[in-house]
Amino acid sequence: MCAKHRRKDPPSGLFDGYAPDGAIDELFEAEGTPHPAMERVVALLQQLDRSDFKQRQRLADATFRRGGVTFSVYSDRRGIEKTFPFDLIPRLIAAADWARLERGLVQRATALNRFLEDVYGEQEILEAGKIPRALVERCSGYVPEVRGLARPHGVSVHVAGIDLLRREDGEFVVLEDNLRVPSGVSYVLENRSVMKRLFPLIFQLARVETVDDYAVRLRDALLSVSPVDGTETNVAVLTPGIYNSAYFEHSFLARQMGCLLVEGRDLFVHDDRVWVKTTRGPVQVHVIYRRVDDLFLDPGMFREDSVLGVRGLMQAYAKGHVTIANAVGNGVADDKAMYPYVPDMVRFYLGEEPLLGQVPTFRCAEPDDRAFVLKHLEELVVKEVAGAGGYGMCVGPTATKAQLKAMAKQLATHPEDYIAQPVVEFSTCPTLSSRGVAPRRVDLRPYVVTGRSTWVLPGGLTRVALKAGSYVVNSSQGGGSKDTWVLKEQA
């Protein structure tokens, strides 16, 4: 009955009473004032009633569960499958902002591709002294075994996931590059399909750039770097198997591209060619979009105990009979220790100034930097160079005394394992919380696909820290996701 009484109140708009909490907000300049470029779409969303919204939220959750749109958590061996919490309020990006961002992403991906070709080839950038040779050679992602092997069409990073934050001044800055096996794009596509189902009219009126052609673009990119003619090319997605946390995505992409989904045990190498074991005999595979880490790819060359890879694969690659995407050894370019040098790569290879900013980074291996970091530990975020997924991180302002002390000790003994960055204040986006719509921090991972040319999926994966005040958006640590709407230019 209470609910009934409340219904008599004037109809509540979705954003009524929403106020940014001091951080820059993706949708609003201030309470009641959306950014001019978003006014039109915010007004559309504003019409939604909150109770109606909550019901659709439940519907979305049920849809994901029923469809098996899940990821497994690493800590469980056999994996409890979880759905990625999804927030129905879309994150909007204005057309002009996106256009600028897109150029920056293409530039960065191009430079990173050039760097990888160089570092595994002539090593001009090291010769020129732009990057310390020792840093490269010590880097855990550097794979000396692939040096000198030709990269089909010079492409190493066929798919890049570049994590961005929007800084207080409104600029997007790169937090990190993911150039090995970046995941998450299936959530972008599934989120979009749910949004279209739940809000068909609003979606249509909002005029949003499509993401539906991702799989086609990826397939075309893969075919364009095949060792044989595109029409004769067999493409396979290589997955570690159904217990892998991103299995859903592997299966999803294989389905969308209409290609084979294989596990290592489905393949073998004969005569330096890769074959898939079928019910009618061996069939050759020409391009492998692999979602298996470097070290597990070929037990003949890397980890001998790997059951996820294919013995002889690297030999087939060396002979040019198979294209591996992403290429082996990309870890050297997305290593946190290499990150500070990416702007120099842009300048060195392209002769341009970087369009995308990034976060100032202290390299704890360097004595001066280390001294500074130790002195300012409480203000800095210290990250393990090899860490990922928000693990191995020490956030100064929120860390306990004991944690800071332990960190200082680590820095004294293994400085080369760490970098430090200032705490970056980044943007919030209106998000449905238990107490109505509230500001929550978001990041953005756009996907850059490179074959013989480079293409950026409009938008990308917006991850959101669902806890009030939290800066951690990782799905493994209480993060969720949102659909990302890149708005079309006004007609």
């Binding site: 029923r66 098996g68 005569d271 898939v276 009618r280 050759q284």
Partner: protein, 337 residues
């Protein structure tokens, strides 16, 4: 298609079929034991025997409780330690479906996943305790839905035929096994005497388990052990008869063999043909009486061996490599490039 995927397809439907059979068996037994003339002890125990689970059940719970319907049901449906329990079989079916998600249709996946979610999320279990009849009814419907979607929503190509092969062979084996258990339970009947009321009740229950009661009477048959056995083994048009399943399995096997131009599956085909010949020459005379058990054992073992041979002929991961090695000149054969 990829050998591993073919194997997953094959097993997806074997598990679904097994689960359906277990559910049917328990459901029918629930109403059978309501009739006083059937000893609950023997009828619940028979379920354990039919599913091959008696020894592990006794080890777990003791021999004295084999008549405890609640316990037996719980063991056969919910026990996660029991690899033959219904919930485990649906879990395995779902796992196979998940690993071939790119091969099956979205509709099939949603149906299998929906069934699994219902069984494992607690909803199914609550229904089982509150309203058993409704529980079994829904279970049956959901299993049938998966089956219908298998026929109705995917290409009837190689993957489909491996699924159908798994389903039909499993079903033929289950029919033979259920019949064997009943026969064992009741013993050979005296040909001079008609069946006792207890026997009649058991044969009726068996027909119902296999949803074959109406079909049986439509054929104008008189209820007796011999007639039921004859019907379940040899009736050409009964979808669950051993013969019916083997004839159709042979179609599917022939279909999948075409993809390798008959190079693969030669042995499987010969074994299946052997089983069918046995049924043909065996027009009823040996089908009941003391020899029935031997005949059924022959069938059950034969089908199990056939499934093994199918694995060896089509799914074995070392096959393709052997084929490459055998190919002349060391160059891999250019099949299907």
């Amino acid at each position: 298609m990829i050998s591993r995927v073919a194997e997953n397809c094959f097993w997806l439907q074997r598990y679904m079929e097994r689960a359906a059979c277990t559910a049917g068996m328990i459901e029918v037994n629930l109403s059978t034991v309501l009739d006083m003339q059937v000893s609950p002890k023997e009828s619940w125990r028979a379920l354990l025997v039919a599913s091959g689970e008696e020894p592990s059940f006794v080890e777990r719970h003791g021999a004295e409780v084999v008549a405890d319907g609640e316990l037996v049901q719980d063991y056969l449906i919910w026990d996660r330690q029991n690899s033959a329990s219904l919930v485990q079989m649906i879990t395995m079916a779902r796992e196979n479906a998940r690993s071939v998600r790119e091969t099956i249709s979205l509709e099939m996946w949603l149906a299998v996943n929906g069934l699994w979610l219902w069984l494992t999320s607690g909803k199914g279990r609550r229904g089982f305790h509150k309203e058993p009849a409704e529980f079994y009814d829904r279970l049956r419907r959901e299993v049938e839905l998966v089956r219908a979607l298998t026929y109705g929503t995917i290409l009837h190509d190689e993957a489909f035929h491996f699924m159908r092969l798994g389903m039909l062979l499993e079903r033929a084996g289950q029919t033979a096994r259920l019949l064997d258990v009943k026969h064992h339970l009741l013993g050979p009947s005296d040909p001079g005497q008609g069946d006792s009321p207890v026997e009649v009740a058991h044969w009726l229950a068996l027909l119902r388990t296999l949803t074959a009661t109406e079909s049986f009477f439509k054929r104008g048959l008189t209820l007796s052990g011999a007639a039921v056995a004859h019907f379940l083994i040899l009736e050409r048009d009964l979808p669950r008869s051993v013969r019916h399943c083997l004839v159709r399995a042979a179609d599917s096997l022939a279909y999948v063999r075409e993809f390798s131009d008959g190079k693969r599956g030669r042995r499987s085909a010969a074994m299946l043909e052997h089983l069918r010949t046995r049924l043909r020459t065996d027009s009823g005379s040996r089908v009941f009486g003391a020899e029935l058990h031997d005949e059924l054992t022959f069938m059950i073992d034969g089908i199990a061996n056939l499934c093994e041979q199918i694995r060896a002929d089509f799914f074995d991961p070392t096959l393709a490599e052997q084929e490459v090695d055998r190919a002349a000149g060391g160059r891999a054969p250019g099949v299907g490039q």
